[in-house]
Amino acid sequence: ASTSVASRIEERHRDGILRIAVASAPSNINPLDSGSEVTRWIAEPVVETLYAYDDRQRSVPLLAAGEPEVSADGLTWRIPLRSGITFQNGDELTANDVVATLAHVNDLGSGSEWITYLLGYVQSYGADDAYTVRIELTKPYGLMRSHLTNLPIVHRDYAKRKDAMMGTGPFRLESFTPGQTFKMVAYDGYHGGKPDLTGIEYTVFQDGATRLISLRQGKVDLLTSVPYHNIGSVRANPDLHVDEVEGPNDILSYVAVMREPFSDPWFRKAVAAATDRHGVLSKVFGGAAVIGQGPIGPAEMGWDPDLQPYPDEPDLDHARELLDQATTERRDFTLTIGTNHTSRDMAQVLAAGWAKIGIDVTIQQLAGGPWSNKMLDRSYDMLMNVFQSGFTSGPANYMALAPAQSTSVLSCGFVNQEVDELMDTVWRTSDDEVRAASLRRINEILVEEAVMFPPVYPKIVVARLATVSPLNLDQLRISRVAPQNLSLVPGGTDE
């Protein structure tokens, strides 16, 4: 709050560059390879999608010239492209670029995360002409529209590159140091409105506290992933603004129904009832979350605010009653979590809660690969991890639901005819109403059966200096920070 900080900021802002502190760097900068938020935050100003969400989270054309033409059987999609749009290297956007993008995300060997969504649905794709892209599906796929709204379009020569990014967005990636800094400058030939900023610079600070310090000291303007423990102190600081929105932040948390002890529904329900949701909310998330019930959270399609079978505070007596009905003898399980701090804190709070009804929990913390090993080998009892789903799936988190479907390769062993059918509907239908209704019902069943029970739905928390223009919270709700639309305001903003 000292004047030296203020003058440092003023000094720094002369160059018109917005500096953003992020928690981690993407593994590579090909925006087609990873669906994680880190890639997306950095790719947002550079690449654009065929369709985009408006502020009411409806999909509207962006690079596409209009709505896709879908054949009657729903198997052939034709997407018209706008003409005259150029990439940051001056090349014009054509159907070939979209086809190259599709080719990459459908390539089994590429390792792209998108393959998960397209595998088994996309049969072929091609360019009808320079401005029309054609996609042939094997079966009707309502979610295709959602994917087209999320999939960035990359210059054909860059689709496979992992060391460069070329899109049609307002900023061009100028230079970067892997894992550390990413520098972008405004692209003069941008087809939309000219941005206020001359450039954007991302710096990676893995440690939450130092990330925060650099914001306080005015070294950066914007901070993603504010450490939950520190939200209080940011809120109290008049020079900083903190935005907390319910977003598609998920806690993937499900159990292996095919094995003891979770094969016993009473055991599952007892565990669900003894889950210390309030403890997690207050101790781990500093209140920046919503009490969780089923797998679908408040920012997602199918959210049912009235569904509240489990209390905030664990109902231990009830849980013990449930446990008494369980036929399994086991009173212990292993909780496998990811390596982040939040998961660890959460696991410890939960374990302490479960210990109160006599269940002994071993916490096993594993990094990505080994964590996946467990998931794929189905050698877990309960899996838990935090992740953000918005980028690849929009306002609906289908991947998180996959284990509940008995036909999924990731099935956790839960077999429920109705869920399986509803899931098919969700994937197939292009009617959002139907999809939302199906999701609501799936959520209800999973809550009832206690297969998936995230303790809370964390909020997205972003902090910024008062001298940065306000964020578009509607975009933030689906994890879009959209720094390209921000501007630097001398003296601070008034909200």
Binding site: P26, S27, N28, D33, G35, D107, L108, G109, G111, S112, E113, I115, T116, L119, K162, D163, T177, P178, G179, Q180, T181, T203, F205, Q206, D207, A209, T210, I213, S214, Q217, K219, T339, A367, G368, G369, P370, S372, N373, M375, L376, M399, A402, V409, L410
Partner: protein, 329 residues
Amino acid sequence: MTMLEFMVRRTLNAILVLWLVVTGMFFLLRLAPGSPVNSLPPAVAADPLARAAYEAEHGLDQNIFIQYFDYLFGLLRGDLGTSLYDGTSVMSQIASHLPVSLELGGLAALLAMVPGFLLGCWTATRRGSWSDGAVRVVTVLSFSVPAYWLAVLSLVFIGQRYPDMLPTAGGFVRFTEDPIANLKVMLLPALVLGLSTFALVVRSIRAALIDVLSFDYVAFATAMGMPQRQMMKRIAIRNAIIPTLTVVGVLLGGLVSGTVLVESVFQIPGLGQLMVTAFLRQDYPLALGCSVFTAMIFLGLNLVVDALYFVVDPRTRTSTQRRTAPVMA
């Protein structure tokens, strides 16, 4: 033995050890449970088609010995494969991280060894005095304080006040970008890293010097009236350095280990941090590459120490003769 001969021998030995390290690590990694394919997004990894395609692309479907020889030949060509995590070339990753670690380690070594040497010599001649006691207390404390704890504390007590001193709070700046800012940012980590080395150098030099000062040849030189200063320079220090040099090998190991921790705390993008991340992610090719490089650096540094040893202690040249000195009489 000539210097060249001696070094060639030592180098060959180092290469043999390096080969053992590479071979051991390679096979152990391949025997480990869990396929590297599993680090793909779960839904991709779970799909047999995608799995097979990925394995074919990365040569994982081949016989393990073919993979091994591929790796060895790749190593010779400077190609260490690609990272499983992000598909970049391991070599290029190492190339970008290594200089930072070398700078950090070098700086720490410089900050530790030079003052450590001087202080060690100084206290040895003041044995039993209060300054000697004070130095002893300081050195014991210095190597009893874990670098990572010190790093965390310095983040708080120094970082709050002088954020520019911290790579974490200011973003790391490379030497090539801005030497001054880089040195500013590296100073604290180098000090933290070098502290225990400093203490051990002081203790080792002091002990060796005290030892040497009680030897016959020092007594003779003194009895011949050689001035103290000359005696120290010509005889005592020269002979005291030899036992210290053997310790330096261990110290270097400590420095290399230390960079891993210190880089993690201070978020310095060096080889250590790269390695920790690689290990945590089980990014085998990257972890293996980093380890091989670390071993290489470590063995290389030990070669340098050997060479120094050869220079400082001419007895090594006739090592075999020395063992059977009576023969030469």
